[in-house]
């Protein structure tokens, strides 16, 4: 372990630590642009120069490994002079257009120019100008501002796994661009906006809409997929202006997917902002009391079994719990949270969690994807698998349809019967699975949504038992959910026998007379035509179209609530803005409705509701922990039928009502579908 002296104080660091990291461990900040702890070291900005004894020149601390006996100074006049020199060179070709730059106020270059810039430029010549590149609808480029740190190039190559960005030319002619200025084809491309230390790469949809200092920042949880990425909503005047990631090492590190980053304009579009009641075959505006009366009239005298409820993908735990209590009060247990028809069952918790945990992917040595396309189902999780492959020697194999996941995948074939082959030990993969120290199996939508999904789950459970995937400190059985509400719904036991298919069939045959949709929009609505449909949700989507009564609820950004991510991690979302118009937090609507039904629910405030919820599910008290779940028996004992596992639907960017309402994501999806794009209004 090398011991070095920094500014007169000794510190011992791990071998391989760089001088910059050693400085940071001592609390000394070293200015830098190109260095980023999650990317490879480039050492090209030269801003991190420090003085080292016996070295004739200052050294780049980000690239210099700490050595035993090194004597480093970070605060000498020599260091300051060196950094001022670097800054002067950087500013020679930087346009200094901060007043019209979206990065202004949160710009590394701006901040560090205050510390190391001189007030006056000695440069009399013309500055260079670089043509802006069109790299897609999400990232705006002003390439004259680029300081060539190459963070974006390294991110695209290393983390996102798309080698499309590069630095062309040399010296003064160097330019960052995508190959032939094509649009970036990644679900993570928005992260280069955060990585860019200057204003060269900024958010195209956010361009010129707000300044960072006028935004109210709310730290909350993303609901676009089941990963539960930690995000920050930046709002102004009750409108979310942008979404940024928050650091959470165990979940999303510091990345978020483009769907998460850019769905925010969907929060303000196609909103249900007042109750509606269907009169003469048409939805008409109504008052709350009219809407509640219409429901009460319909529910009056209804048998419990005739009422069914379907829960959407974005619901928070409190809303689901309130609905569960309301259903119990009116005598129905038929609530279903698996609107995509996934065959996961409530009960054994280990049977529906991502047990290895997201961070655990880095420890795994062999991963078998079964009908899963993590790139589409949870893009940030896919980046974690890629990290495992690149840095920790993880090997990935797949049963299911082929798709580019940005890392090497060994395709075993798209055939469910392979599971039995592997279990029997006749397959070549069996030996590898047996030999692996920390093997993982990931079940994705393609497996879960198959008609005999339960049999596939059962087969994988037997596989897990047989090959020792589940041990004392390791559980290699993983379910990759797509919906943010799913694990919460399963924890609450919101499943019904026959699942969504049975409910829809009963609705079509008239057995289920009333169907309550809690923002559930992702299935064929045609079967609900016979039934009386109550829709409680935020967006005018498929569900609201067939509804007889529409109750305007709050979107996730407009309510506090708990969410459980696919690992079983309980995280708390906070309200950033208020719901529009008459829309209310779902629990208040359900509470008011219960009064009209004369079956008042046992809570009068959000606090009481949450207290009741936690009393029912004590594990909610443990926040932000992915606790190990007890292994058990689940899934069907039948063998899965032979045949392929379905591919995940291609409409990746439009999987929920908020995303579908978003203009930005529609544009991105069009691009992904190959629809030619016109220049947007924010183009320079």
């Amino acid at each position: 372990m090398p011991t070095l002296t920094i500014n007169g104080k000794e510190i011992t660091v791990e071998p391989g630590t760089t001088v910059m990291r050693a400085c940071e461990e001592m609390g000394i900040e070293v200015p830098h642009f190109c260095y980023h702890e999650r990317l490879s070291i480039a050492g090209n900005c030269r801003m991190c120069l420090v003085e080292m004894e016996h070295s004739p020149k200052p050294i780049a601390s980000c690239a210099m490994p700490a050595g035993d006996g090194m004597v480093i100074y970070t605060d000498t006049p020599e260091v300051k002079k060196a950094r001022e020199g670097v800054m002067e060179f950087l500013l020679i070709n930087h346009p200094l257009d901060c007043p019209i730059c979206d990065q202004g106020g949160e710009c590394d270059l701006q901040d560090q120019a205050i510390a190391y810039g001189t007030g006056k430029s000695r440069y009399q010549e013309n500055k260079r100008a670089v043509k802006d590149k069109d790299i897609g609808p999400l990232v705006k480029t002003i390439m004259t501002r680029c300081i060539h740190c190459t963070r974006c190039v390294r991110f695209a190559t290393e983390v996102a796994g798309i080698e499309e960005l590069g630095a062309l030319g040399r010296g003064e002619d160097m330019e960052i661009t995508s190959y032939l200025e094509r649009s970036l084809e990644s679900e993570l491309s928005g992260n280069i906006i955060d990585l860019c230390p200057v204003g060269a790469l900024t958010s195209k949809p956010y361009a010129f809409t707000a300044r960072s200092w006028e935004l109210v920042k709310t730290e909350t949880i993303d609901v676009m997929d089941a990963l539960g990425s930690n995000i920050r909503l930046d709002a102004r005047d009750n409108e979310v202006m942008r979404i940024l990631p928050r650091l959470h090492e165990d979940v999303n590190e510091e990345w978020i997917s483009d769907k998460t980053r850019f769905h925010y304009d969907g929060l303000g579009r196609r909103r249900l902002d007042r109750p509606y009641v269907k009169k003469q075959g048409k939805l008409q505006e109504a008052s709350w009391s009219e809407a509640f009366e219409a429901i009460a009239t319909k529910l009056n005298g209804l048998k419990g079994g005739e009422l069914a409820g379907i829960i959407g993908d974005l619901a928070d735990l409190e809303s689901m719990y309130a609905l569960k209590l309301l259903f119990r009060a009116v005598g129905s247990k038929r609530l279903e949270c698996r609107q995509d028809g996934a065959a996961v069952e409530a009960g054994c918790r280990a049977g529906y969690l991502f047990n290895s945990t997201v961070a655990g992917i880095e420890e795994a040595d062999l991963l078998l994807l079964v009908g899963a396309n993590p790139r589409l189902e949870a893009a940030v999780l896919n980046a974690r698998i890629r990290k495992g492959v690149r840095e920790y020697g993880l090997k990935v194999a797949r049963i299911g349809p082929a798709a580019d996941l940005t890392y090497e995948v060994e395709d075993l074939g798209d055939e469910a019967a392979l599971l039995a082959d592997i279990l029997s030990g006749h397959h070549a993969f069996s030996g590898r699975l047996m030999a692996a120290e920390r093997p993982m199996v990931v079940l994705g939508a393609g497996a879960l949504q198959r008609r005999d999904g339960a049999a596939i789950i059962g087969a994988v459970r037997r596989l897990a038992d047989h090959f020792g995937l589940v041990g004392k400190d390791w559980n290699g059985f993983n379910v990759l959910h797509g919906a943010a509400s799913r694990v919460g719904g399963l924890d609450l036991g919101l499943t019904s026998s026959g699942g969504i298919a049975a409910i829809l069939d009963d609705a079509a045959s008239g057995k289920a007379k009333v169907v309550f949709l809690m923002a559930a929009d992702e299935f064929d609505m045609a079967k609900l035509k016979q039934a009386f449909v109550i829709y409680l949700g935020s967006h005018g989507d498929a569900g609201a179209e067939v509804a007889d009564v529409v109750l305007p609820g709050a979107a996730y950004a407009e309510k506090d609530g708990l969410y459980i991510n696919l690992e079983g991690r309980v995280q708390e979302g906070l309200r950033a803005i208020f719901p529009p118009g008459d829309a209310r937090h779902d629990w208040t609507i359900l509470r008011a409705l219960s009064d009209v039904l004369d079956k008042p629910l046992p809570f009068d405030s959000f606090g009481e509701l949450r207290a009741g919820l936690i009393a029912d599910l004590p594990h909610l008290n443990q926040r932000d922990v992915a606790a190990a779940a007890k292994w058990g028996k689940f899934g069907s004992d039948k063998e899965p039928k032979a045949g392929g596992l379905g591919a995940v639907s291609s409409g990746y960017f439009l999987t929920n009502p908020i995303a579908r309402a978003s203009k930005i994501l529609n544009e991105v999806q069009d691009l992904a579908n190959g629809v030619p794009r016109e220049a947007t209004g924010t183009d320079g």
Binding site: E163, E164, G166, L168, G169, Y179
Partner: protein, 204 residues
């Protein structure tokens, strides 16, 4: 300097180019074939009339299993890869200090006058491209230019024009010094070692 590349019709190595390419790839360990990107670009450039088109870059990228942007980076970094069409004869006049002191400005002027084009341009008939290059490494024979891998040295305006005229006429002018001089021996005749040492002195 432009870093964009030009679209063109498809490109593929001829058998001869392939043989050369494989010889270069064989120099590197298995899986490290991308190390051969520079020689392969050179081979592609020679086969493609002296310049690299977009299909050339993509072909080399495909040949070495690397993303096209990485090959594009290499092709734009080095000035000896040309990214646009050039004439059949590329005249590269050195204008770095020693040549400049010895009159490279006159050489450029002579070329421009004879060809009717400016530096960086190609004659309308597609015969000649005139380029200015940095040190050609033949300072002792300054000023120099290189045409088709041949060096023409000790130039002056007159000899430069004659070379161009000869090329235009389809002849191959004599390479090397254009004045009476043996390679890079002193121009005014030998100053030392004027006579061969007597045979008997050798080894005595």
């Amino acid at each position: 300097m432009s870093v964009s590349i030009t679209k063109a019709n498809g490109f593929a190595f001829t058998e001869a180019s392939k043989a050369q390419a494989e010889a270069h790839i064989a120099k590197y360990p298995a899986g490290r074939q991308t190390s051969a990107v520079m020689p392969l670009l050179t081979i592609a450039q020679e086969q493609n009339d002296g310049w690299l088109s977009q299909p050339c870059i993509e072909y080399v990228a495909g040949y070495l299993s690397m993303p096209p942007i990485r090959v594009h980076e290499v092709a734009t970094f080095y000035t000896m890869y040309r990214l646009g069409p050039v004439g059949k004869q590329v005249i590269e006049v050195c204008t770095t200090t020693p040549c400049w002191l010895r009159g490279s400005d006159d050489i450029i002027e002579a070329c421009e006058a004879e060809l009717g084009i400016k530096v960086g341009q190609t004659t309308p008939d597609g015969q000649f491209t005139l380029l200015e290059v940095e040190c050609a490494g033949a300072c002792v024979n300054a000023p120099v230019c290189s045409i088709h891998k041949k060096y023409y040295e000790d130039l002056d305006a007159k000899s430069m024009r004659q070379i161009i005229k000869a090329l235009r006429a389809g002849k191959t002018p004599k390479a090397g010094p254009q004045i009476k001089r043996q390679t890079s021996a002193p121009a005014g005749g030998l100053t030392t070692l004027k006579e061969i040492a007597p045979a008997e002195g050798r080894g005595a």
